[in-house]
C-alpha cells in the first residue's frame, strides 16, 4: 500500500512518519511515534479516550486521519508536565482522586485543558458540558468534575 508522509509537532517536538493512507492519528501516535497516552476505547468516536489537542482544539484522534495533520501542532497528556512538574490539571486529578483505572484519564485531561484554555473560570455546568464527550466507567464523574474546578481555582489563585 502506498505510504504518505506526515509531519507535525507533538508536544513541541518535530515528528515525521510515513503511514498508510487512511491511518488514523491515534494509530500513528501510538504505534508509529510511540506516544501511547491517547487510548483506543471504541475506535468510533464515542468514548473520548483518544482525545488530543490539535491547533488548540479538542479532537478525537481515532476519527482524525494522520495525513490531515500536516503542519499541525498536536498536544497530548504525555507532554503536559514541564520538566517533571505536573500541570495544575494533573495535580488536581491526583489530589481530587479523579482517577481509578486511569484509562479515560489522558482524554479527560485533554478535554479539561481545552476548556480551561478557553474558559479559565468555568461553572460546574460548563465543566460537565466540556467532559460530556468522555466516558468514565469507574468514578461516576463527580471527582473528575471537582478536579477540573479545583484546577481552575488553582490557576486563578496563581494569576492573582
Amino acid at each position: 500500500m502506498a505510504k504518505v508522509p506526515v509531519q507535525f509537532t507533538l508536544n513541541g517536538a518535530e515528528k515525521a512518519e510515513f503511514v498508510d493512507s487512511g491511518t488514523t492519528l491515534l494509530h500513528a501516535l501510538r504505534d508509529k511515534i510511540g506516544d501511547t497516552s491517547p487510548k483506543g476505547g471504541c475506535h468510533q468516536g464515542t468514548c473520548g479516550a483518544c482525545s488530543v489537542i490539535i491547533d488548540g482544539e479538542l479532537r478525537l484522534s481515532c476519527l482524525t486521519l494522520a495525513e490531515t495533520c500536516n503542519g499541525a501542532e498536536i498536544r497530548t497528556t504525555s507532554g503536559l508536565a514541564e520538566a517533571g512538574v505536573l500541570h495544575p490539571l494533573q495535580r488536581a486529578f491526583l489530589d481530587a482522586f479523579a482517577t481509578q483505572c486511569g484509562f479515560c484519564t489522558p482524554g479527560m485531561i485533554m478535554a479539561a485543558k481545552v476548556l480551561l484554555d478557553h474558559t479559565p473560570n468555568p461553572s460546574r455546568e460548563e465543566v460537565v458540558e466540556a467532559l460530556s464527550g468522555n466516558i468514565c466507567r469507574c468514578t461516576g464523574y463527580e471527582p473528575i468534575i471537582q478536579a477540573v474546578l479545583r484546577a481552575a481555582r488553582a490557576n486563578s489563585q496563581n494569576a492573582a
Binding site: R30, T36, K39, G41, H43, Q44, L80, F97, C101
Partner: protein, 455 residues
C-alpha cells in the same frame, strides 16, 4: 467523613489512623501523565493481529469449515480451528474442581450461542485479518434454540450443552443448590399473611473503557510473555497451561493494569488462543476485542429470576421464606454455577428467619455466556429481597425501616445455611441511616445493638 467511634467502642482496638484521611493512590501519577502501561501500549515489530470468525446462529451444527479462500487472502499468516487447540474443551473453575469441562476454545462440531468463536485468523494487519475472516465458509445446520430459563428446564427443551446432558448445572445436591432450615410449610401455616412475588433482570454489560485483550511475545526459547488485562492472572495462567498443554514455566504473564473490569475480565478467553497463535507462527500476536465484541461477546452479568414467598406476622416477624432463584448461565458455565450457589446462601438476606427453603438453579440457554460482575449472584437478589421487604412492610402497615429492625440478624443468630452470625453491624448501620436520612424510628430500635447482651 465523620467517624463514629461510639459504635463497638468496648471491643474495637482503635488504630484507625488511616480511615478518613486522604492518602495518594500509588497508581495515579502514571495515570495523569499518560505513562501507565496498559497491555495494548506494548508494541512489537512484526506483530500479527488475531480476529475471530464468529457464529451468526444461536444454536447450530457445523457441517464443514472451509478456510481455503481465506488462506489466500493477502497478509494472512495462519488460520486456526478447533483441531489446532491441544485441549480444546475446558472450563475455568476446573481449577477448584467445579466441572465438567463444557466450553470450546474454538467451536467443534456445534455452536451454542450467537457470537461463539469458530475460526481464528492471524494476519499482518487488523484489516487483512478481518477481510480474510469474511472469506471463511462455515456450513451450518441451524438447530432450535432456547432463550428462556423456565422453557429450558421443561422436558423436551432443546439440549444446549451436551457436556452437561441437561439444561441445568448438576450440583452434588442435585438439580439445584438447596438450603433447608426449620419447617417452611409450618411457618407458612402459622403466618398472618403470605406474599409471593416474582422478580427478574436482564443481562448487564460492564462496558469497560478498555476492551478485553492481550499482546503475546515469543521470547525465542519456547517461552511466551503475555501482556493481558485479565482480572484473574493466575486463573488465566493455569487454564492456559491446561488448554495449551504447556507447563506454567513456559508462560510469563504480565498484567494487573486493567482499564476497567468490574468482573468482565475474569474469564479466560483471549489469552490461550493468542499464545497458541504466537507459538505456531513464532510471531508476536495481539488479540483485542472491538467495542462491538466487548458489548456482544464478552460475558455480561447473568439474567436472573427470583421468586420469593414470605410468611409474615402482624407484629412484623418474618416466620417463613421460600425462594426459587434462576441464574441464566448462557451456553457455558464460566463462573455461573458459583454465582447461583452464592445466591442460595444469600437469599434469606441479612435477616433472621426461622424457617427457610431455598432452591437456586444454574440454567443453560443459547444466550451469551454470563459470568462475574460486581457481587454477581447476590446483587439482583438484593434488589428483589429489599423490594419484597418494602412490600411486606406495606402489607402489614408497618414502617419499612422499623420492619427491618425487627428482622435484622444479630450476633449469635444462626443463618439458614448454618453459619452463626458474627460481627453483624446491620442494626448500627440502620441507626446511622435513620439519622442521616432523617427517617426517625421508635426509640426502642435506636437503643438496639447487634450484640445480644446476656444472651
Amino acid at each position: 467523613m465523620e467517624l463514629r467511634k461510639s459504635y463497638f467502642a468496648d471491643v474495637r482496638k482503635d488504630g484507625l489512623n488511616e480511615i478518613g484521611q486522604p492518602r495518594p493512590r500509588l497508581d495515579s501519577p502514571g495515570h495523569v501523565t499518560g505513562k501507565t502501561a496498559y497491555f495494548a501500549d506494548r508494541n512489537f515489530p512484526g506483530m500479527l493481529h488475531l480476529k475471530m470468525v464468529r457464529s451468526p446462529h444461536h444454536h447450530a451444527r457445523i457441517r464443514t469449515i472451509d478456510t481455503s479462500e481465506a488462506e489466500k487472502h493477502p497478509g494472512v499468516v495462519k488460520i486456526l480451528t478447533a483441531k489446532d487447540v491441544p485441549h480444546n474443551v475446558y472450563t475455568i473453575l476446573i481449577l477448584i474442581q467445579i466441572g465438567p469441562e463444557d466450553e470450546t476454545v474454538l467451536a467443534d462440531g456445534k455452536v451454542r450461542w450467537k457470537g461463539e468463536a469458530v475460526v481464528a485468523v492471524l494476519a499482518e494487519t487488523e484489516r487483512a485479518a478481518q477481510e480474510a475472516g469474511a472469506k471463511v465458509k462455515v456450513d451450518y445446520e441451524v438447530l432450535p434454540a432456547v432463550f428462556d430459563m423456565e422453557e429450558a428446564l421443561k422436558p423436551g427443551a432443546p439440549l444446549v450443552n451436551e457436556y452437561h446432558g441437561q439444561n441445568y448445572y448438576l450440583y452434588d445436591s442435585g438439580e439445584c443448590r438447596k438450603v433447608r432450615f426449620g419447617d417452611v410449610e409450618a411457618g407458612f401455616a402459622q403466618a398472618d399473611h403470605i406474599l409471593e412475588q416474582s422478580y427478574q433482570s436482564s443481562p448487564i454489560e460492564h462496558a469497560p473503557t478498555e476492551t478485553t485483550g492481550c499482546v503475546v511475545a515469543p521470547e525465542g526459547n519456547d517461552r511466551f510473555t503475555c501482556y493481558t488485562n485479565t482480572q484473574a492472572m493466575f486463573f488465566t495462567l493455569d487454564n492456559t497451561s491446561i488448554i495449551l498443554q504447556m507447563p506454567g514455566s513456559k508462560l510469563h504473564f504480565v498484567g494487573g493494569t486493567v482499564g476497567g473490569g468490574f468482573g468482565g475480565k475474569v474469564d479466560v478467553i483471549v489469552e490461550p488462543i493468542a499464545i497458541l497463535g504466537a507459538k505456531l507462527t513464532g510471531r508476536p500476536v495481539c488479540f483485542i476485542y472491538s467495542r462491538e465484541e466487548e458489548m456482544q461477546i464478552s460475558s455480561p452479568r447473568a439474567a436472573e429470576k427470583v421468586v420469593i414467598k414470605d410468611g409474615v406476622m402482624n407484629d412484623g416477624r418474618i416466620v417463613a421464606r421460600k425462594v426459587t432463584g434462576y441464574t441464566d448461565a448462557g451456553a457455558y458455565s464460566r463462573h455461573s454455577p458459583y454465582g447461583a450457589q452464592k445466591g442460595a446462601a444469600h437469599y434469606p438476606g441479612p435477616y433472621t428467619i426461622p424457617n427457610v427453603w431455598i432452591d437456586t438453579y444454574c440454567v443453560y440457554t443459547n444466550r451469551t455466556p454470563s459470568s462475574a460482575m460486581r457481587g454477581f449472584g447476590v446483587t439482583i437478589g438484593d434488589f428483589a429481597l429489599e423490594v419484597q421487604m418494602d412490600k411486606l412492610a406495606r402489607l402489614i402497615g408497618m414502617d419499612p425501616l422499623e420492619f427491618r429492625f425487627i428482622n435484622a440478624y444479630r450476633d449469635g443468630d444462626m443463618k439458614a445455611h448454618r453459619q452463626p452470625t458474627e460481627g453483624a453491624a446491620l442494626i448500627e448501620c440502620m441507626q446511622e441511616a435513620s439519622r442521616a436520612a432523617n427517617w426517625p424510628v421508635a426509640e426502642k430500635f435506636m437503643a438496639m445493638s447487634s450484640y445480644k447482651k446476656g444472651a
